[in-house]
Amino acid sequence: MRIGFYICHCGINIANTVDIEEVMKFASQLDGVVVAKDYRYMCSDPGQDLIEEDIKSLNLTRVVVAACSPRMHESTFRAACEEAGLNPYLFQMANIREMVSWTTDDKEAGTEKAKRLVAAAIRRVVLHEPLEARRESVAQAVLVVGGGIAGIEASLRLADSGKKVYLVEREPSIGGHMAQLDKTFPTLDCSACILTPKMVEVGSHENIELLAYSEVKDVSGHVGDFRIKITKKPGYVNASKCVGCGVCTEKCPVKVPSEFDMGLGVRKAIYVPFPQAVPLLYTIDRDSCWYFQKGTCRICERFCDVGAVDFDQKEEIIEIQVGAIIVATGYDVFDASKITPLGYGHLDNVITSLEFERIINSSGPSGGEISLKDGTAPTSVAILHCVGSRDENWNRYCSRVCCMYSMKFAHLVRERIPEAKIYELYIDIRAAGKGYEEFYNRVLDEDVTFIRGRGAQVTRLATNSEEEGKLVVVCEDTLLGIPRRIPVDMVILSVGLEPQKDAAGVARMFKLSCSDEGFFLEKHPKLAPVATATPGLYLAGACQGPKDIPDVVAHASAAAAEAMAMLDRGYVVLEPEKAVISEETCSGCRICLDLCPFDAINFDEEQNIAVVEEVGCDGCGVCVSACPSSAIVLRGYTDEEILAEVEGVLA
């Protein structure tokens, strides 16, 4: 055994809290170590050259590098080993940066811990066996989950490059939140006007298979070969027959609050969510349809000339194979009723920003007219920023879009009601974007009163005649240093962006990690903002964190580009760290069979043993730890290797 040991200073990142000299001296005395060297940046070319030259000149049979996390540079050093003719799996990394130097200022303790991790790595590497990675071909199709602007953009980019796209949307129409918005800041483009052409393109694109009113049920497989099960929910209208004439909706006697209009308008039990819906396919909402709930009606069926209504339609499971997945499941808005003092849900004329988007929209429930509950137009409006954002009690983060849309609201109110008093209650104005600061200045000139202070309470309790019959917004004006009471007719709560309610379930299904706030975690916050820890799985849009539309579009395009690059390369390298079942020791007890999250274990009835299908195995180790007779081994993570590490740490 001839082990080469290398320790990285990482500039001062490691060197400041770990005595490099001492660790090197320590390592050089361990069994099998023939050379121990240090370098300022082991990951640099000269650092890698050091390893490569030693492998050749000193005939090293094992290499250990003590540096950063293997997630950063394991592949770098493995490649260096391979370059010099050493099997890349005869390498082991000791993480003395994230696990040592970044955890302490105590150099003595840091050095001691570094030594232990180094001893662990050196004991372990002795037991390493040469392994071979495999190449597998990549299925030339991509699954895009979520049909908001992120999913739409990603799908179009991929489809335009000739890739087959399956776009799954759980609502009856694509469009997402953007379809609900009125104007977009700062250019005041009509949101629908810029979105609907893209929606139509998705609907008609030859490379896009749009699966609306559908949900992903199961994900298995791996990069290059994901197997997806999708449930197509029954809409009880035959897509190939429906011509979208709308007679069914006209005749349907059931009225329920419209989700698209945030409950401010009504829709029928058979409906399209909004006129520009794609696909333009009517859907029966089972939960409100009289036929399904009471057993009679079927009026829609009677009036449908083409016989498209089909009450016998069943849920359908579709199975597809894709090479990559883009998750674009978007966001939800903060539930303003959680902050009771702001009155949402129990005071009239206190509304949320998304409700206001529908109110102001000319195709919305009020035809674009801003009116109070009693039908009159408000003479004064207060817009409260940061509802549920930048708040220790709710979400600590800034939702990034609220300042801008709040000022857009001020502008739109001014446009419709020129004499109205408009107040913006803000903590700071965040207008960092192209043309954003200019928009802020524009609104400042539109006679809008900016009050620097968070709205603390909205009340109907008047303390003087001026407040009588009004909503009173209580706040502290932090510029004047005084508490203020502002009587207004209407209060708009600028609610922040949150992860979707079912984000944790989605994360489990796709094996994504979530950040503290619950948004999906990217591979690297700066350098890999669309990739995830799972190869072949990418994030697009606000499911990764709050974003405005241009950022979402850029993010989604980047996700499409990553997926495209992977598909175009045509192959993926599958790591050899897979579970292997020994024929000699497997007793066929069947404990592992139900456990595999990838369904990669089959039972060989003839031999009475379980067998791992290597391509499907993800190397997660669930079966390995469950096997009661230790007949399953995870290559690269044998009991002996792990125990050697433990012994190294404890030695």
Binding site: E584, S587, S629, D639
Partner: protein, 325 residues
Amino acid sequence: MENPKIAIVLGATCAGCDYSLLDLPPEVLLDVLGKVEIVYWPTATDFKLEDLKAVPDGEIALTLYEGAVNNEENEELARISRQKSQNLLAFGACSCFGGLPGLANVTTREGLFRQAYLDAPSNESNGVTPLRVSTVDGHELTIPDTFDTVRALHQVVPVDYYLPGCPPPLDLIGEALTALVTGDLPPKGHVFGSSKSLCDECDRRKESKSIHELHGIHELIPDEEKCLLEQGILCLGPATRGGCGYPCVKMNLRCWGCMGPTPESIDQGANMLSALASVLGLDRETDLTDEAIEVLMKQVKDPLGFFYRFTMPTSLLKRAVRRNQ
């Protein structure tokens, strides 16, 4: 040619292994006895330690050492056995893994004595504990000192063969003795038994191990055709070396694990614990809270006595941590 010499040595044992020897079918027992020369077997014949000591080093072809190593006498016998024998066989679960006496490793010698002679409700010692040296009628008597930690034989001296079981299965004893008399001993380190777990030979029907309720053997009459574990009966078979012919399971009793871990396993108890934790409540795994998991796992009564009944001293645990007073 002279018949090979054999010795049967007793350490910390209940002598149940001895009974197994005598349970061998007469044709096997008599055949073997006719082809060997017994130089030491205190249970069956009137041998003294001096007789064993008198045998020249390395003259015994095979010594069967039964029992764990728990006191000075056990250790002395183990060392003498090694010295006198060409082949040393760990005979029975105690000798192979520490066995039932090995459970004493949850405490110390003092704790053991306190429990056995003072605290146990059944004892009638009136506060009297054994003394290492005592004087009776002017004679000074000594008894061997008990150790703090119980060990398996191979943790004391090098061992050539292992024959586990509590008691060791007759077929395997026959196999080992026949190998000796025919001069066809397996390679050193061999463990008599199967290379697979008990499930391999068990012919009960196995379907799905996704279980959520555990039952004591007294709480239901098990289906005789179906895997006991799948009926919620904690059977240690999946984590236990086969080769015993599963007599317990055939009688609708669960496997207690006396054949010890399977060849690749480094810890039988941890293996079974991990397997059980993997399948228990599996069908509703995603909804399980930490509290619900605890409720599930608390169904295992006497976990140490279940998972480590026979293997505590040779497990990764080895013994309870000794805290300084």
